[in-house]
Each structure stands twice: as structure tokens, then as C-alpha cells.
């Protein structure tokens, strides 16, 4: 079960953060290797030749790619504590559905919010809030998407919270006003050590995004 665990990642990646939270939840010791995506090193290209992306988990020399696939792998291998997915097959299907929804919808819309302007950005903002409101409805009155405890869906979405300040500044939006339940849920998740220790400071992410935005938008 133990063995050598290495994580190839980039600190601001909301996908990499998912894996870091999962590793923290399970108390797994690992070596973190920060990657430079503008200058990909041979190890990354060898371990993920198809997508050439982070995160990549390398367990005993064997690579696992794609953040949610890595999280499921971690859950299956280190299955003695802190289950990330529910045990009931129907609940698992629902968890997979909502994590898949986050994967398909949140990144694309949020990207339009911080990397565009004008009409494209306005459309992106509308889409972003539509998606967040759908998630709010799904959350309902539960403390977490997983119910009483933090789980797979919470993990898949909470990492985007570290980018919220960037979205708000560049999009000129106020997420708490539009989606108060999401913010309340995020703050609840941040009370967990694994989340609090993993998520980078919003301001740090904002500064990182500011640099990236320059490449997309002339202002």
C-alpha cells in the first residue's frame, strides 16, 4: 500500500489541488515536484506522454493521470481510512455525475470570466453563475455535497474557491451576493485541515492569474 509516492503538479492548479487534498485526507506521505509547464521536463513527458499535463501521481514508479482518476485510485488503494467516495453504488454514481459536471462546466466558464473581456466575458459570467446556481440547488441544505461529510464532489469543486478572488476582480462580480450558499459551503470546507493546508491564498492566485490574463487581454 505504501511505497513511493510522487506528485507532479503546479501550485495554482485547481486539478492538482484535488489530488493534494485527497493525499492529505488519507495521511499519505509524498514527494511534491513543482512543474514548469512552459518548459516541460522529461519526467512529466515520460509519465504523461499523451496529455503532457499535470497532475500526475507516480506510485512505485507507475504513473496515474487525470485528477479525478487519481483521486479514485487513491481511494481504492488507501481504502482503510477517510473514504472519499460513498460506499453505496447509487450514491457513488451521483457523486461521479456531479464531479463530472464540475469538470465539464466550471473550468470552461470560469476561464472566460478571467481571460476575456467585452461580450465574450459577459456571456462567460452568465454561464458561470448558471453553473454555480445549479450546484447550489444540488447542495440544498446539506452541509456538504456528500451529505454530512466532506466527499468526492466537495473535493472536486472546492479547489476552484482559491481562484474566486481572481474571478471577482477580473469579472467584476460578487460571488457571495449571487451564490451565498456556495460561499458558506466553501468556508465550511476550509475548516478541514486537508483543505485549509492545500488551497493557496486567494491573493497569491489572483496575482498569478493577473500575469496570465496579460497574455489574453490587452487593457
Amino acid at each position: 500500500m505504501a511505497g513511493e509516492v510522487v506528485l507532479l503538479d503546479c501550485w495554482p492548479s485547481m486539478f492538482g489541488m484535488r489530488v493534494r487534498i485527497a493525499l492529505a485526507e488519507k495521511g499519505i506521505k509524498y514527494e511534491y515536484k513543482e512543474q514548469d509547464l512552459k518548459n516541460k521536463n522529461p519526467l512529466l513527458l515520460e509519465m504523461n506522454p499523451i496529455n503532457k499535463q499535470i497532475p500526475v501521481l507516480i506510485h512505485n514508479g507507475k504513473p496515474v493521470c487525470e485528477s479525478l482518476i487519481i483521486v479514485q485510485y487513491i481511494d481504492e488503494v488507501w481504502n482503510d481510512k477517510s473514504s472519499l467516495l460513498p460506499s453505496d453504488p447509487y450514491q457513488r454514481a451521483q457523486a461521479r455525475f456531479w464531479a463530472d459536471f464540475v469538470d465539464k462546466k466550471v473550468y470552461g466558464a470560469s476561464r472566460k470570466v478571467w481571460s476575456t473581456k467585452g461580450e465574450e466575458q459577459e456571456a462567460g459570467k452568465r454561464e458561470f453563475f448558471e453553473i454555480l446556481k445549479t450546484l447550489e440547488v444540488e447542495l440544498g441544505d446539506k452541509p456538504y455535497f456528500g451529505g454530512e461529510t466532506f466527499g468526492y464532489v466537495d473535493l472536486s469543486f472546492i479547489t476552484f474557491y482559491s481562484w474566486f478572488q481572481a474571478y471577482e476582480v477580473f469579472g467584476n462580480i460578487n460571488i457571495e451576493v449571487e451564490c451565498p450558499k456556495i460561499i458558506a459551503w466553501a468556508k465550511r470546507c476550509l475548516q478541514k485541515e486537508s483543505v485549509a493546508k492545500t488551497l493557496p491564498d486567494q491573493k497569491k492566485v489572483y496575482e498569478f492569474v493577473a500575469q496570465m490574463r496579460k497574455r489574453f487581454v490587452s487593457e
Binding site: 506522454p49 499523451i50 496529455n51 506510485h59 507507475k62 496515474v64 493521470c65 487525470e66 482518476i69 487519481i70 479514485q72 485510485y73 481504492e76 488503494v77 453504488p89 447509487y90 457513488r92 454514481a93 451521483q94 461521479r96 455525475f97 463530472d100 459536471f101 445549479t134
Partner: protein, 221 residues
Amino acid sequence: MAGVKLHGTWYSPFPYRVIWALKLKGISYEYIEEDLSNKSPLLLQYNPVHKKIPVLVHSGKPICESMIIIEYIEEKWPQTPLLPSDPYERAKARFWVKFFEEKAPAIWPLYRSTGEEQKKALKDSLEMLKIVEEQGLGEKKFFGGESIGIVDIAFGVIAHWFGVFEEVVEVKVLEAHAFPRLHAWKENFEEVPVIKENLPDRDKMLDYFKKRRMEILSASQ
């Protein structure tokens, strides 16, 4: 096994993935044909988020998204496993399923467009097929090894539907000399009894997709 229902459309590859999984495991189900131009209240109730098929309804509870449905079926009915038991091999299988889910949409513009957009779709499709040919299948008969598994089921679109699209747009993409392994896989896949006996009629599909392409192209003009 009581109360398994599948909502789908006869021409879409996605409900067939679920049909193959159910048949391979010997699970009886009721099939309900949906008209996507006039979505039933039941479909909208079962899949309010995406409003799509397939939807599997088990004892009244809906599960959406074809590959998520298959993982559910696998967990509920473990006989004739579709996923490997080793976690690393499972992660690899899930990787290829995700790869296809992300890259396969490049195929649709091949069928739905013309000119530059179609050329780009052709290029993207060839790139995707090349990666699968060289890195996905290897020397194995099926992605699942000696027998078909979840990745073969996911790639089933390539086996039957792709050839129909090629004929409709009169562009050959998956050529045997360029993709010998995939070509062999395609032939082997379609010979598997459960697959062979559960495919939509090719002529009916050709007819349907030809008509649909004309509708799509004229609508975009």
C-alpha cells in the same frame, strides 16, 4: 434485477454502451425510445441537468451519463467484470475512457460541417486515432485484453458508427493500412456475439444520418 429501464434513442451510440454492459452481465431491462425533438416529461424529470439520453432507471432512481451508468452497473452486478480488479489497471482503463470522451467530440464536426471546419475535424480525428492505435491498444486483441471491457465499450462508436459517418460524408478516415491495429480491433469487436446482436441496422442508420446531415447543413446556411 427488478425495475431496470433504459431510456435511449435507436441511432445514438451512447445508449448502446449501456445495452452492451447490461447484456454482457445478463441483466434484463425495459427499453424506452425517446424522441429528442420532443423530450418526454419523464426524461426531463430524470435528467434535468443535461436533458440527454441515455438514462438508466433502477428501482425508480435515475443514473445519467453513459460511462457513469456503466460503472454503476459494474458495481451493482459484478459478474462478467468490465473493469480490471487491480487499481492501477482500473486507473489506466478510466484514463482511456476519459481520453475518448474528451477527444471523440472532434468526430462530430466531420459529419456536421463542411469546408475548413470539416478539414479540422478530419485532422483532429486522425490525431486521436493515431494515439489510440500506437499507445492505447498495443498488441492486445481488445482494450480489455482477451475479452472486451469498459474501454472497448466506450470506443464502440468507432466500430460501428464511424463507418456510417465516413460513408455519409464520403471521407475515409479509419483506413486499414494506416491503422492496422484499430482496424483489426473493429472487426473483432463487431464479431463479439453481444455486440453483433445489439447494433442498430446499418442501412437504417445510413439513411437517418444522411437526412440529418442535410438538415444540419441547410439550417446553417
